[in-house]
């Protein structure tokens, strides 16, 4: 039996009528029109579908939509502010962390999750934090450097009091 699903996506209260076996990825893309989150492998190997659920990184292709009822979902579409991109987006853009762009939404979400728990990660910690995200274009080096650069900018902004903690952790 289909059920009414109510959840918050990137700050917006949304709802859909959902069959129990549907995944969160399908509902985000097909029912709610939030196509920023991508379908890559569709079985949790590639990370293109990564979203935050109450701040935790989750492969939305392998997560039942109804389990997200009442929860806060953050997708790539929720990262940018009104006037500026998120520092991670800006660093990916300027540093060549994007080529075809298909892995980028998931890469960004995993990077946000990583920096929320470790604002000053080592290169190895960045590699571990992005280990569930595959990129077939960049060879990863520009992505690692972009995360390092964004992390430094976000630390500087936080210590200068220029942003609130919500920029660092969208789940807050």
């Amino acid at each position: 039996m289909p059920e009414l699903l109510q959840l918050t996506v990137d700050g917006l209260p949304l709802s859909a009528v959902v069959e129990p076996g549907r995944t969160l990825l399908r509902v985000l893309r097909d029912d709610l029109g939030r196509t920023g989150t991508k379908e890559g492998c569709d079985d949790s190997e590639c990370g293109a579908c990564m979203v935050l659920i109450d701040g935790r990184p989750v492969n939305s292709c392998s997560y039942l939509a109804l389990q997200a009822a009442g929860r806060e979902i953050t997708t790539v579409e929720g990262l940018a502010g009104v006037e500026a991109l998120h520092p991670l987006q800006q660093a990916f853009l300027e540093g060549g962390g994007i080529q075809c762009g298909f892995c980028t939404p998931g890469m960004l979400i995993s990077a946000v999750a990583l920096l929320a728990r470790d604002p000053d990660p080592s290169e190895e910690a960045i590699r571990d934090g992005l280990a569930g995200n595959l990129c077939r274009c960049t060879g990863y080096q520009p992505i690692i450097r972009a995360v390092q650069r964004a992390a430094a900018e976000m630390r500087a902004a936080v210590s200068a009091g220029a942003v609130t903690a919500s920029l660092v952790d969208p789940a807050l």
């Binding site: 079985d43 949790s44 392998s62 997560y63 039942l64």
Partner: protein, 304 residues
């Protein structure tokens, strides 16, 4: 196709559904159940009981020296807990290498055990640490089952219809003990063990092995103890020569298969290397040496 879905807030309600609906199966994070369906290996159950909102299954604490884990305890928490890392290191070693950060944030200890994969990472550590699970059913029925006795084959356990794994209890280890879990892996993430081994070693003051438990991953239909290896260790000096003898003896418990990830011959050959390395890490920890978590990333010296 799934036609029924429930997300009860209490254990009592979840057990009532599992008792009343014979087709109902529990899901916590979905990192096995939903992935298997996406890969076309196994359809989603007709009826799903999501247990992830049951707060009484999410607790984790140390009570009188016993590590008490609710079924919903995440791999992420196990990998990062200082208590687990120091006193039950093998479990931290295993939890830290499950899947990816997303798998570890969402996947649970209860799911890892009940999925009963012959390659499950946390099972061998829990076997050597002598852990037991609690299986509960509606009406107050509850029983403890040793993790060693839980799985009966790939994807199969002793749990009956209506029984839910609600928690895991890991007893304290004896003074002078150390434990470790190491797997052979082809890549660092989104990987499962090609072969793996967990060991618990208890040393006497003069460096002899007073007690030892060894369990093997991905070399049999279930995770298995290696009694021949344990016998070779007890009473012997904890040194590389002993570890090599015990590792060779461990092969007696292995019944590996050929599959897409490795041939049976390769598994048997690598098992000996992995067991020796795991024993060295466990013994080093028993002596108080710091071996980083996960031990699979540890590069032992020439002595092994």
């Amino acid at each position: 196709m799934t036609s029924r879905f429930a997300a009860p807030a209490t254990l009592e309600a979840a057990l009532a559904i599992l008792a009343a609906d014979g087709a109902a199966r529990p899901v916590a994070g979905g990192t096995d159940l939903v992935v298997a369906a996406r890969q076309g290996r196994k359809d989603l159950p007709e009826s799903i009981v999501a247990i992830d909102r049951i707060t009484e299954l999410a607790r984790h604490e140390v009570v009188d020296g016993v590590l008490v884990l609710g079924a919903l305890t995440s791999h992420d928490w196990l990998a990062g807990s200082p208590d687990v890392g120091s006193a039950w290191s093998a479990l931290a070693d295993a939890s830290a290498i499950v899947g990816s950060p997303a798998t570890r944030a969402t996947g649970t200890i209860g799911g890892n055990l009940m999925n009963a994969s012959p390659a499950a990472e946390t099972t061998a550590p829990l076997v050597v640490l002598d852990a037991a699970v609690t299986l509960q059913a509606a009406g107050g029925a509850s029983r403890a089952v040793a993790v060693e006795d839980l799985a009966t084959g790939p994807g199969r356990t002793v749990a009956g219809a209506g029984e839910l794994l609600t928690g895991v209890a890991v007893p304290p280890t004896a003074a002078g003990s150390g434990s470790a879990y190491i797997r052979l892996e082809y890549r660092r993430a989104m990987e499962i063990a090609v072969v793996g081994a967990a060991a618990l070693v208890t040393l006497t003051g003069d460096g002899r092995i007073a007690a030892a438990r060894v369990a093997l991953t991905a070399v049999a239909p279930t995770i298995v103890r290696a009694p021949e290896a344990e016998a070779a260790l007890i009473g012997a000096t904890a040194d590389p020569a002993t570890f090599r003898i015990a590792a060779a003896a461990a092969a007696a418990a292995a019944r590996p298969i050929d599959d897409v990830r490795a041939s049976a011959d390769y598994r048997r050959a690598m098992l000996v290397v992995v067991v020796a390395r795991t024993l060295a890490a466990a013994a080093a920890r028993a002596r108080g040496q710091s071996i980083p978590i996960p031990a699979s990333r540890w590069a032992p010296g020439q002595e092994v």
